[in-house]
Amino acid sequence: MSTVATARPIARPRSGGGALSVGVATGYLSVIVLLPLAALAWRSLEGGWSTFWAAITDPQAVAALQVTLLLSLAIVAINAVVGTAIAWVLVRDSFRGKSLLNMVIDLPFALPTIVAGLTLLALYGPRGPLGVNVAYTRTAVLLALLFVTLPFVVRTVQPVLLELDRELEDAAASLGAGRTAVFRHVIFPNLFPAILSGVALAFARAVGEFGAVVLISGNIPFDTEVASVYIFGQIESDNVTGAAAVSVLLLAISFAALLGIGGIRRWATRHDG
């Protein structure tokens, strides 16, 4: 973003219009988003701290969280590599069908998660044509999470790669750097913040994923049951307070991870103008 030399603020003296937009924005957000979340937080502590603690230390809950975090970290690692590779191919390579590939990347954004799970089940499940059957295993959960998080890293890295000044690579090459060195010292440092952003989005999405996972994983407690499915189960069993407690914990973990990634990102871009 360019800045002007003057110290002008963005706001201009406005009659009703400005106040209206602010009023509507805050009102709508409060009613739709903040109020329900406040209810969630409040009710999670309804039975007091001991009930909260019991709910989040329930063995099944703990197992579900472990499975969730483990698999989410795994997909993050896979996405960081594959997502960057796909972005690279989309930007630097050219072949017939490339624009089709580019369009297809967004499919997980457009396709309902339940359908995503069903499609994976069709190919990799009991009656899959390949004879591969990973249904009801952690691999199935992994596949489901990879499906829904595919676009994130690709779409955050793509624009950075597009904007990357080829001159930097030329300069490095003229100073004697080979292809790997150029990647390691010139390209990767520029991509790293974008990869982190994509990773953050992918992680947040993965820990909360429900629809894609619920059909294919079999939801076996202590094995393939993820946090969101566990919470769903608790709601169905009328243990709403327990569900709320685990939800709050899940949220806290998500936010902590996002803050951490944000911190790394700030460190990585500390030299940027």
Binding site: I32, P36, I86, K98, L101, V104, P112, R155, Q158, A204
Partner: protein
Amino acid sequence: MGRYVLRFVAIGYVGALLLVPLGIVFKRAFADGFGPAWDAVTTPAALHAFWLTILIALIAVPANTVFGVLCALAIVRQRFRGHGLVNSAVDLPLALSPVVVGLALLLLYGREGWFGSWLFDHDIRVIFALPSMVLATIFVSLPFVVREVVPVLREIGDEQEQAASTLGASSWQQFWRITLPAIRWGVAYGVVLTTARCLGEFGAVSVVSGRIAGRTETMTTHVGERFEAFDLVGAYAASVVLALLAMSTLLLMTMFQPKEENAR
């Protein structure tokens, strides 16, 4: 050489994860021919689910669009207390599990929720009825128009509106004649993303709707229900409908996409 490996990896990964599975679903849906598939998606329950989904989208998308434009204007052009909170709150729905969203709504509007007894006394059904499904869908699809319009507003600044004001245009005239036309592509793209999210919502709606077949089922929960009833053709056929909608969405997305995101 490395280039071909990379290309193979990229195409192979996307194919194995996205395209082939989707292709199988299409094949399976029409395994017994077009007839059974058509029958499956035209059962009363399926049709009801279809129209309910459309109805919810017809409420949620315009609401989030109006909100989205106003919120983007507030974020980019106004200074107010709570600016940072609004900015972060808009992104919250993207970081929350849909099940947690459903739970939060349950805890607010459910029988034992904060508003529960008041609603019960006035015989207003929110949970296990349309209103909660609408609220859930609005919640999860809230950010998209805002996030698409904000960068556009930041880019164009407000000089055109200032010029219009010196030419005599009132605030409303400025908004209608200058601001809206300038942001229309951002809004269009945001609307497409919002609609896709509305049509695809599953987790939150599952929690708040009670998934009562023929009454509070959307197309996505209908797919789940058919699967649990071992009606695979029904589940696949409904999935095909959703997949076709998704592909139309993809086409619209590509058409309205801000130029920077297109690969060269």
